[in-house]
Subunit: 478 residues, 2 copies
């Protein structure tokens, strides 16, 4: 077990230094490594497989709600980016500019897309003519670039991977419905596939997307009490339609402007998985997206029949699960530690004695509970344990969030809480930007969202004491 | 049928103007449209679905041969691109340069990747230490940018989509084996999934990839007699390993340099599908990658029970095929023409009389053959017709290629053929660059490949008359 201890010791504990723990896990679980390009990651095979599972799951949810994928250019000409005033103000300071093609200086600069509203609108202006062309429900999977000063793997990188949905609708009502529908798709995905509970709500005007009329968000609470915005959905009204001159002939034969949405979830969700479920032994992956759901570790492979039995089990289980059999010459202890680090949900151990008894040992990653399982009912047992593990991850995360959610009534309480107790803070707000700015200054918190589920804590704003309009979630955020 | 004629007339015939026919098909089949960004396409939902099917098919072939996906940065710092001399000379003149991030001028320019050998090598130098770390069998799906002066949808665009495999091996033999293995994967994919016959061979030194020791290629012949390089596989030796200082401790405990390959297939393969199988009614798609394999067109939907029966059939067939039911209020004739334009392999028509007889009408896209098919054996019939259609497409393309392949013995014959008869030209070559350059000048042909299947046409070079080393395929190419 010397090997195992060595491996385990190599990562910093969460309590000692959470940020260091996080980067240790990213590195040791072989999710990603730094590249020679400032602020950009190399996403390694294990991290890529995880992202592909996330993508496939989300993509099937998008298709089930009627969306189609497209592939847009990665460049945006400067003049196109400038067509919508708020949007360009929000994004121009943080884009990468292409100025030369080969030896030649370009007549017009191109930015590498930070987001693609402008490209979609340019295309929509060509393909939308009649109400019969609506709705347009498009999505694309790609990477985008934002010139960030400080970066952290998955959480904030110059280039990141995401999907961006861009839709156009006949009426404002339909567009708002779509905005809410896609927020629910994100929330369901987080809860059902990632075992991450989220708070659904609306962003304040200060925090909304550049150019949007309203932004909806799902917010998750990480292990260290910081919030992570995990997916957003925007309603644009017809602002871009006017800016890009997108019109259609309506049912009453009048010229109208369509109503727009966009929505995105990115590779930072991998950061959320790490910081929601991980522990001092490494990553813990929710079964629905784990690249390997079950690892088989044969014990005493020098004994006759063990390797063969393990191979037979692997072939059998591959019909229903993502399975890996490790036949390397590393010690069993080393393998246990390695797959714990990689967050593989279930481990099966099988040795000569197990074979005699027609059983194997099943170990759950989250609580390390061992059970002896008959080989006759292995598929059923694995299915049940994967489900139990998912449910346990979800419940644990939900319990932690509830424990770490505080309610405050006045500014002193807010400052006291923000200073001493990491987590979500629920407090009333008058609706004024000045109070948001002051709370950031004096308590270091930002508004996370105006949750759909409102509570009346007090009648007055936690900051200025004037009449309150909404209850908000506040916190420190990634 | 007025509608149908209108739609058909909208595309130029192949014989009238092949280039115009091609762009008409791209546009009318709604595969792609031009974007506001010079030289870049918008790949529309139908084109994206086609690319996704191509990607999924190829990806499963890569995984079956032991490869893993990764995701690398889209930028390459100038100093990294310059590390391998031949490579930078080949690519620097055609890259897009990022010089500014936000308002700030970068200290070092970044190019948008034209290909990623340098990024993979940078990463490999970090993760390869011992022979136990080899082979590394990585692939990535992404887009790359090359600053092209003239562009055509799918065939040549500034940004294009592709996969690039990059592998590292302990020995030269293993790397060469991999290079050949992946060429065969491409050839099998083209023949089995796309119904496109290809010639396998090696590129001459003039035509090989910048920095490679040797380049293998598959070449397909388009309807107009021009060749299209459809996939390439490169053997690099250990040149990049030396340039990037990638070393490993070998089995005998000595420091060694690994041997490298790369291989790629791109979205230009969609151009090959169009120009191999298409006809004057539009696209014809091979069933393995067609976004819609079977379209159901109900006839006389005002009659009771027709719509319901069509819906029932659609649900039933969706269990085994990619099926679309068109219930729009367009006329049946308009629908026939539309799905012919989009190249849907099979059309099912069902009306009141068919329902009475428990049958439907099945029409093949390629030859428009109609048959009446019992609803009881519909799945079997569809499976058989899809297979027959695939085989017919392949055979037709092969026959055409054979008809359009000529053998020449001397320079006059070469010029005469190249001038008057589009197609592949087989001719002997001495191995000298001067003859390749002269043939380009006087006959307008380039060497396509030195095919693995050699024939001895004559003993002397078609150009200079000196002793011949190889038989080559020559031609005009996209």
């Amino acid at each position: 077990m010397a090997d195992q201890n060595k491996l385990v010791k190599e990562i910093t504990s969460m309590d000692e230094d959470f940020a260091k723990w996080y980067t240790d896990v990213v590195k040791k679980a072989e999710l990603a490594s730094y590249s020679g390009v400032r602020g950009c990651m190399v996403i390694r095979p294990y991290g890529t497989a995880l992202w592909e599972n996330i993508r496939n799951d989300l993509d099937s949810r998008f298709k089930a709600t009627g969306h189609e994928n497209v592939m847009m250019p990665m460049f945006i000409p400067e003049s196109l980016l400038q067509k919508e005033k708020d949007h360009v103000e929000g994004f121009a300071p943080e884009v990468a500019w292409v100025t030369h093609g080969g030896e030649e200086k370009l007549q017009e600069r191109l930015c590498v897309r930070p987001t693609s509203e402008t490209l979609f609108c340019d295309h929509y202006s060509e393909v939308i003519h009649s109400y019969k062309d609506l709705p347009k429900l498009y999505n694309q999977w790609c990477s985008v670039v934002r010139w960030e000063k400080t970066t952290r793997p998955f959480l904030r990188t110059m280039e990141f991977f995401w999907q961006e949905g861009h839709t156009m609708h006949e009426t404002a009502e339909e567009a708002i419905e779509e905005t809410e529908r896609m927020l629910n798709v994100y929330a369901d995905f987080c809860e059902q596939s990632l075992a991450i509970p989220v708070v659904k709500g609306k962003k304040t005007d200060k925090e909304k997307f550049a150019g949007a009329e309203s932004t909806y968000t799902i917010e998750a609470l990480m292990h260290d009490g910081k919030a992570l915005q995990s997916g957003t959905s925007h309603y644009f009204g017809d602002g871009f339609s006017h800016a890009f001159n997108i019109t259609f002939t309506g049912r009453e034969n009048t010229i109208q402007y369509p109503h727009q949405t966009s929505w995105g979830m990115s590779s930072r969700i991998i950061g959320a998985i790490i910081m929601t479920h991980g522990d001092d032994n490494g990553l813990v992956l929710p079964p629905a997206v784990a690249p390997v759901q079950v690892v088989i570790v044969p014990i005493a492979t020098h004994k006759p029949g063990v390797t063969e039995k393990a191979q037979e089990l692997c072939e059998r289980l591959q019909k229903g699960f993502r399975v890996k059999l490790d036949l390397s010459d590393n010690s069993a202890g080393w393998k246990f530690a390695e797959y714990e680090m990689k967050g593989v949900p279930l481990r099966l151990e099988i040795g000569p004695k197990d074979i005699e008894k027609n059983q194997c040992v099943l170990v759950r990653r989250d609580n390390r509970e061992k059970s002896f399982v008959s080989l006759d009912s292995l598929e059923e047992e694995i299915t049940a344990h994967l489900k139990a593990l998912h449910d346990a991850l979800y419940q644990k995360a939900l319990d932690r969030r509830e424990e770490m959610t505080y309610t405050v009534s006045n500014l002193d309480e807010m400052i006291e809480n923000a200073t001493n107790r990491p987590g979500f803070i629920k407090a009333m707000w008058c609706g004024e930007l000045a109070c948001e700015e002051k709370l950031k200054e004096v308590a270091g918190v930002t508004s996370r969202c105006i949750p759909f589920e409102q509570e009346a804590i007090t009648d007055t704003c936690v900051c200025c004491g004037k009449p309150a309009k909404h209850m908000l979630y506040w916190g420190k955020a990634y």
